[in-house]
């Protein structure tokens, strides 16, 4: 009889830090200690605390081990699983309320998890994603059963409408309305499409659902098919997500075997089947019309709307397209009711939202919180704050299509409308935290470089406009810009927004516009004072050695890759050796010398 479960994260993050080896080591050690019949090892999806991987959780006590290495496994088996003694040194020390005397922190007790409300991620890190039976044990496919046996398609759409669920891919269009617009359109074939082409740098919410709870998506898409009268579904997922693709395929195969996909599901007469289409990783294919063009086998380029996909979508047929996270909410809404869902969140943004926390923050990882949680709670409490005692400067939401939230607005409740009101957007959920060492002009330039690369080239405002924007930003960061350039930059941003064909171009200038709005002084400092206040833009930096502090040891000169540091004739009072100086002409501004000086004589200005 099994008395304990060892859950080991098999998400992409933990897999890359070696969780497969840990799983093997556990199996071997458990066999060696003759515990095979008592302990079960389960590979699960992502637990969310990716920064601490590989993550291992032991149930029933819920002990949470982080950064487990292969060599630690035998100790956990011997001490914890055999003798019941928790291996303290490996237990996650909760940021916030860690206390030496109560170090046995269970996962559910950590600040990181306690503040969250896991609806979409409820099964991630709890079940084995490759077992349909475990999904069913967690009420899986019960929503599909209810829909097919008790509800009409109209009733299903009404529940989704009433719940207030809005598209989690970034746009925030009401999901129920999308379904209601598609359902009445008569056609020989309709389609349900899932957008799993998660392309924002630093975003991995959808991947986590696909890896940790793939059956949830299969169930939700089948429900959507019933609601709109479609019998065929496609999941468009990027080929860069091999684990997600493999698990989703397993889930589809298992569902077919159980008759949860295919003909006459639950004896209701309803047929539905699902196929995976792999994307080659073009960012533009996250745009709905480009995505459908790509599924059709053509080059992934957007087309003008209308006609909207609800009328003429995939293969010219009425199509509902939703994002992974949107779908993942659906079974829970059906089972627990629209009122339950609508009780979470704010006035016009219901439910929860998953964010991928990244950048200058202690707990990088995945968090799910009710809509309306303030940025301060996300960063200081769940995220554990900014490392190295630095100051919070801004957070970028929505990746290359979004904008930044400055420190002055840190108490803004995060929901669709509040973010739009401050010139930002929810986006798909990437949340990149920046500290005082980040240059906002440089940050805008980073995202522009991305959109220049990813612009498909079909329309001129985006293809040429983003390129010109980037050139202007380069001019500013290299100290050659003028105040007029800033004004032109802003004008061009609005032009691109208004004239681009699809969402990619229409949102590409957002990082520039929002940094101009909140950090215009930094742009001005770059062009007027020729200084980068954060000390990032290399062309505006000079490294100098304070001759009074320099003792003449020469450590910096040895480190310099450009041989730009040489001894001078000057001996400072109280010193024995002549000091060194940096030749600004030769200096490549790598900063290597700063760290070598024990006397803090080198600074950047």
């Amino acid at each position: 009889m099994i008395r304990a479960h060892v859950l080991i994260c098999g998400g992409t993050g933990c897999t890359s830090s070696g969780s497969n080896k840990i799983i093997n080591a556990f199996n071997e050690s458990i066999a060696a200690h003759d515990l095979k019949d008592e302990i079960k090892v389960v590979q699960t999806g992502c637990f969310g605390l990716c920064a601490l991987g590989p993550v291992v959780i032991v149930h029933p006590d819920g002990t949470f081990y982080s950064r487990v290495e292969e060599g630690d496994v035998d100790e956990i088996v011997r001490e914890h699983l055999l003798k019941g003694r928790v291996v303290d040194r490996l237990v996650y020390k909760d940021t916030g309320n860690y206390d030496e005397h109560h170090s046995h922190v269970a996962l559910s007790d950590t600040v990181f998890y306690k503040t969250q409300n896991r609806v979409v991620l409820r099964n991630c890190g709890v079940i084995n994603p490759e077992s349909i039976d475990e999904y069913i044990a967690m009420d899986g496919y019960a929503a599909l059963g209810k829909v097919l046996t008790e509800m009409t398609p109209d009733e299903v759409i009404q529940v989704i409408l009433d719940s207030g669920l809005r598209g989690r891919g970034g746009g925030g269009f009401p999901t129920g309305r999308k379904w209601a617009l598609t359902a009445p359109n008569k056609a020989p074939q309709k389609y349900v499409v899932c957008n799993a082409d998660e392309g924002d740098p630093g975003a991995f919410m959808d991947r986590s659902v696909l890896e940790g709870d793939p059956h949830c998506l299969v169930e939700a898409m089948t429900i959507a098919g019933y609601a709109i009268g479609a019998t065929q579904g496609y999941v468009y997922v990027r080929a860069e997500y091999p684990i997600a693709v493999a698990r989703l395929q397993i889930a589809i195969d298992q569902a077919r075997e159980y008759g949860l996909l295919g003909k006459n599901i639950f004896g209701s007469g309803f047929d539905f089947d699902l196929h995976i289409r792999l994307g080659a990783g073009a960012f533009v294919c996250g745009e709905e019309t480009a995505l459908m063009t790509s599924i059709e086998g053509n080059r992934g380029e957007p087309r003008p709307r209308p006609p909207y996909p609800a009328v003429k979508g995939l293969f010219g047929m009425p199509t509902v397209e939703n994002n992974v996270e949107t779908f993942a909410n659906v079974p829970q809404i059906i089972l627990r009711g629209a009122e339950w869902f609508a009780s979470m969140g704010t006035e016009r943004s219901k439910g929860t939202k998953v964010f991928a926390l990244g950048g200058k923050i202690k707990n990088t990882g995945l968090v799910e919180i009710p809509m309306g949680t303030t940025l301060r709670e996300i960063i200081d409490e769940i995220g554990g704050g900014i490392p190295n005692g630095k100051q919070f400067k801004a957070a970028q939401t929505g990746g290359p299509s979004g904008g930044c939230i400055p420190a002055s607005l840190i108490d803004t409740p995060v929901d669709y409308d509040n973010l739009v009101a401050i010139g930002c957007m929810m986006g798909s959920g990437g949340l990149i935290v920046m500290d005082e060492d980040t240059c906002m002009v440089d940050m805008a330039k980073f995202f522009l470089e991305f959109t220049v690369d990813e612009s498909c080239g079909k329309c001129t405002p985006c293809r040429v406009g983003t390129q010109r924007l980037l050139e202007m930003l380069n001019k500013i960061t290299s100290g050659k810009g003028t105040l007029e350039d800033i004004d032109e930059l802003e004008q061009l941003c609005y032009y691109i927004k208004e004239n681009s064909l699809c969402g990619l171009g229409q949102t590409a200038p957002n990082p520039v516009l929002s940094t101009l709005k909140f950090f215009r002084d930094e742009y001005v400092a770059h062009v007027v004072d020729k200084k980068c206040p954060a000390g990032v833009c290399k062309d505006l930096l000079t490294y100098v050695i304070d001759a009074e502090k320099c003792i003449g040891c020469g450590m910096c000169a040895k480190q310099c890759p450009a041989e730009a540091i040489a001894r001078t004739d000057y001996i400072a009072p109280g010193h024995k050796l002549a000091s060194f100086a940096i030749d600004a002409e030769k200096c490549v501004k790598c900063g290597a010398c700063v760290g070598t000086c024990k006397f803090k004589a080198i600074s950047k200005q």
Binding site: I2, R3, K83, V126, I127, D133, I136, Y141, G267
Partner: protein, 123 residues
């Protein structure tokens, strides 16, 4: 899958197997599994609890887990039962045979088996 009943059957079969991960039930059965406990035979006791709690369908309300040395080695195997709002009950010199009564009378019936407890044993 042709009916909801089939789905329900799979759910019921699997539920006991994943209940372990749902966090602690109201009652916690903690078996002392330090060297002294294992030497005195704590493992068969632990396994007997796991099996019988499952068999009795109590997995939702009872968590069976283990701990290190409780500190009264001469009374091992020691089993403690914790329940919110109630005083801890400590069973001593446990054997696998004694488990059935504890599951039936204490965990199911709510009445501790007095003669197995530490208060009953000569100190």
């Amino acid at each position: 899958m042709k009916s909801l009943a089939e789905l329900q059957a799979i759910k019921e079969k699997m539920q006991g197997k994943v209940a372990l991960r749902e966090g602690s039930g109201d009652k916690r059965v903690v078996v002392g599994m330090a060297t002294c406990g294992i030497a005195a035979g704590a493992r068969p006791v632990l396994n007997a609890f796991v099996e019988q709690v499952n068999a009795a369908g109590l997995t939702a309300s009872v968590t069976v887990t283990q701990t290190g040395c409780i500190g009264i080695c001469q009374f091992e195997p020691v089993v403690e039962v914790f329940e919110a709002g109630k005083e801890k009950v400590t069973y001593v010199k446990m054997t696998a045979d004694k488990v059935a009564r504890i599951v039936e009378e204490h965990l199911k019936g709510g009445k501790p088996v007095a003669e197995y407890t530490i208060g009953y044993t000569e100190l």
